[in-house]
């Protein structure tokens, strides 16, 4: 399945993209998605944290992804 992942802040700077399309096997998890990003952009390993949001909610690493999910990488937030 093909997923378009939204990128913000430093992840946008590292990837030089605000969206990145990833092709994953059916049944892939949040962890699988993150592994793919770390392989493609090793600089992401240097971040204090990196989590995934699915449909505007923080997702557990084991959560299985669906083709209709809206997915985003969330580097450490710093609002306020």
């Amino acid at each position: 399945m093909e997923l378009t992942v939204h990128l913000f802040g430093i992840t946008r700077d590292i990837t030089r993209k605000s969206r990145h399309t990833v092709v994953l096997e059916e049944g892939s998890s949040v962890q699988d998605l993150l592994r793919r990003f770390y392989t493609e952009y090793p600089e992401l390993e240097g971040l204090k944290s990196l989590v995934v949001a699915v449909n505007d909610e923080y997702a557990e690493p084991t959560q299985v992804l669906n083709i209709r999910d809206e997915v985003a990488l969330i580097p450490p937030v710093s609002g306020g």
Partner: protein, 136 residues
């Protein structure tokens, strides 16, 4: 009132939004752009927001605050885009019957907002720039 905006935040509108005849206290937190951070001179800031999720998380903060304290009305507004020194980045206004709970709820909201709301701050210095909190 819950909002992320690329326009200057209208503080009076936030106060109007929390006006309540049952409230005797309003605590308002205003976060502004300082001219320095960690001894570096700040030229300007850029805030980026994942709007849909930010609004969702801010709404959850408002709901949770109302469960923990007797909140009559609450406003949470965050700015995004390019900000200059002195500009208002965030306003949180909490109206409650008595003052102790307005301070507690307001402080909890700003503290928690900084941990969970997907908004990112880049500081631009004379000699470089940095996404805050990004690296260990």
């Amino acid at each position: 009132m819950i909002a992320v905006t690329d326009q200057p935040i209208d503080i009076q509108a936030c106060l109007d939004a929390v006006q309540s005849e049952r409230a005797g206290a309003v605590d308002v937190f205003i976060g502004t752009v300082r001219n320095h951070n960690n001894a570096r001179s700040v030229v300007r800031l850029e805030y980026e927001s994942f709007d849909s999720m930010a609004i969702r998380k801010m709404t959850e903060l408002a709901e949770e605050a109302a469960r923990r304290w007797p909140v009559e009305k609450i406003a949470i507004v965050h700015r995004k885009g390019v900000l200059s020194i002195g500009d208002v980045a965030v306003v949180i206004a909490v109206a409650t019957p008595h003052r102790a709970e307005s301070f507690e709820a307001c402080r909890w909201v700003i503290d928690t907002l900084k941990q969970v709301v997907p908004i990112w701050k880049k500081e631009i210095y004379d000699d470089g720039e940095e996404w805050l909190e990004a690296h260990p």
